[in-house]
């Protein structure tokens, strides 16, 4: 059987999978990893980024309570 052509998207997904430590998942469940890369990319544009740089994330970090 002829080997599948390697596209830039394939190469990118392989690099991302290796960087995420998902070598085993890439070897055994490659389609799932490719789908995951695409899903995560779509999430990036799924919501508006706050324009105001001062908007804090929820929940805000808090220091531990003062000791009595």
């Amino acid at each position: 059987m002829a080997a599948q052509p390697v596209t830039p998207q394939d190469e990118q997904a392989a690099v991302l999978a290796r960087a995420a430590g998902l070598d085993r998942a890439w070897a055994g469940h490659r389609a799932d990893v490719e789908e995951a890369v695409a899903v995560a990319a779509r999430l990036r544009t799924g919501f508006a980024r706050p324009a105001d740089p001062a908007v804090e994330p929820t929940p805000a970090h808090r220091a531990p309570a003062a000791r009595p």
Partner: protein, 466 residues
């Protein structure tokens, strides 16, 4: 007492127990008989704890005979989703990755129930690690819908929904990170509450996403739900997300009805953002008319688009769940169900910046809902956009599972409840609505839900025997 004990709602069983007209042993025995009859077709249980529960019921019976019940839950069987720890028993999370895990201690919420005298007959099915959907490649089969076992019961608290709807148990606990208490409540014709974030301790509950996880009660009636929450809620210094807020008597306003309440109807969620099936849309309109007829004022409310709430939820949930599952995803990816792996892997590719941006947008989404509550007392919206599809139709499960309006209130932390509001003509399956209240206004939420429940005909409907 004319009804079989297992058919009684929690509050009615509790009243009979308090009057010494029903014993906890009698109640549990009837529930166990019902479980034996129906479980082979529903798969609601991962582990049945008959002997231990019977010992708890006998102890409750003796104690009540001596001095009366400790609480409304004394001697009442309560099921636990199998990501909630029960000391000495496995919390498998419905996964082969956790088959060997035995809980050393009760989850904080279980400890509260135990102190109140509840009985624990078993651990209930879930979607694997409370994510994904019904799967057939796991060590345990998926729970099925008692209204029609060919259909899914919703999830991820699928066994909790199936067990309570089938009258196997009067109540169960579920967890809700993207709607997982309200989803099975909607599809099984139950009452399911996601409380305000931090009101119920998450300690001893396997995490899915730390800033979105809630533990909630699932029951057949609003009163039962309020009684159960009254025992579950309360501060926990060992849960970093605890609101450190004392429980209240959440039943106190159940009699007041909806007259005078201002309810904002988020129509755009199911009309424009994610069009609901015609019969879900019609059921919501009928519910709004009924609430108005009962004296509430209904007006339209506009929030940011539903899809944006969902995207923020997915980015946060994905990244936080990936932090929990990172080692297993790297080392044992083949041990997850295929669907679970597909749901968890995207979180491994959410960047740190994307996660923080989602949390920053969350701040604005919380503010948008808070602004709505400056104008209205409660919000009304769809829960699911479609009736439950067949459990073996993977493509339809995939398509419909995300068609819902529950995630916004995991993002914002406001309390939200699902109540039955109709029945699908084609499949004869329950439909549900969602009511949402300001933070820590659970008593107000229950007041409105109880007012609707009394006025509507759905409470008396139950799955037909099969």
């Amino acid at each position: 007492m004319s009804a079989a004990p297992c058919m009684l709602p929690l509050a009615e069983a509790a009243a009979l127990i308090a009057a010494r007209r029903l014993s906890p042993v009698e109640l549990l025995s009837d529930c166990l008989a019902r479980i034996a009859a129906l479980e082979p077709r529903l798969n609601a249980f991962i582990r049945l704890l008959e002997q231990e529960a019977m010992a708890e019921a006998r102890a409750a019976e003796a104690e009540i005979a001596r001095g009366g019940p400790r609480s409304a839950l004394h001697g009442i069987p309560v099921g636990l989703k199998d990501i909630i720890d029960l000391a000495g028993h496995p919390s498998t999370c419905h996964s082969r990755l956790r088959l060997d895990h035995v809980a050393e201690a009760d989850a904080a919420v279980v400890a509260r129930l135990r102190e109140a005298g509840a009985v624990f007959p078993g651990k209930l099915a879930t979607h694997e690690f409370a994510i994904g959907g019904p799967c057939f490649d796991l060590p345990f089969p998926p729970a099925r819908n008692p209204w029609n076992p060919a259909h899914h019961p919703g999830g991820s608290s699928s066994g909790s929904g199936a067990a309570v709807a089938a009258r196997m148990l009067p109540a169960a606990l579920g967890t809700d990170t993207g709607g997982s208490v309200r989803h099975p409540a909607t599809h099984c014709g139950l009452v399911g509450l996601k409380p305000t974030y931090g009101l119920v301790s998450r300690r001893g509950v396997f995490p899915l996403a730390f800033t979105l996880d809630h533990v909630g009660p699932m029951t057949r009636t609003v009163r039962d739900n309020a009684l159960l929450l009254g025992v579950m809620a309360g501060p926990d210094a060992e849960d970093p997300g605890s609101a450190m807020r004392e429980a209240e008597d959440y039943t106190r306003d159940l009699h007041r009805g909806v007259k005078g309440l201002r309810i904002g109807f988020i129509r755009h969620f199911h009309e424009a953002d994610m069009p609901a099936s015609p019969e879900v849309a019609a059921a919501l309109e009928a519910a709004a008319r009924l609430l108005a007829a009962e004296g509430a004022t209904i007006r339209d409310v506009t929030l940011p688009p539903l899809g944006e709430f969902a995207a923020v939820n997915r980015a946060i949930l994905g990244a936080e769940a990936a932090a929990v599952h990172e080692t297993w995803l790297r080392e044992r990816p083949g041990d997850y169900a295929h669907l679970t792996r597909r749901r968890l892997l995207p979180g491994m590719f959410v960047s740190g910046a994307d996660y923080v941006q989602a949390q920053r947008r969350r701040t604005q989404l919380v503010a948008a809902v808070e602004a709505a509550f400056a104008e209205v007392d409660l919000l009304l919206s769809a829960s699911s956009m479609d009736p439950a599809c067949r459990i073996d139709d993977a493509a339809e499960v995939d398509r419909t599972y995300s068609r819902q309006a529950r995630t916004p209130f995991n993002v914002t932390g406001h309390p939200a409840i699902s109540v039955m509001c109709g029945i699908s003509r084609a499949e004869g399956l329950p439909l549900g609505l969602q009511l949402v209240a300001p933070a820590f206004a659970e008593a107000l939420l229950y007041r409105a839900a109880a007012g609707y429940e009394r006025a509507a005909p759905w409470r008396e409907m139950a799955p037909a025997p099969f």
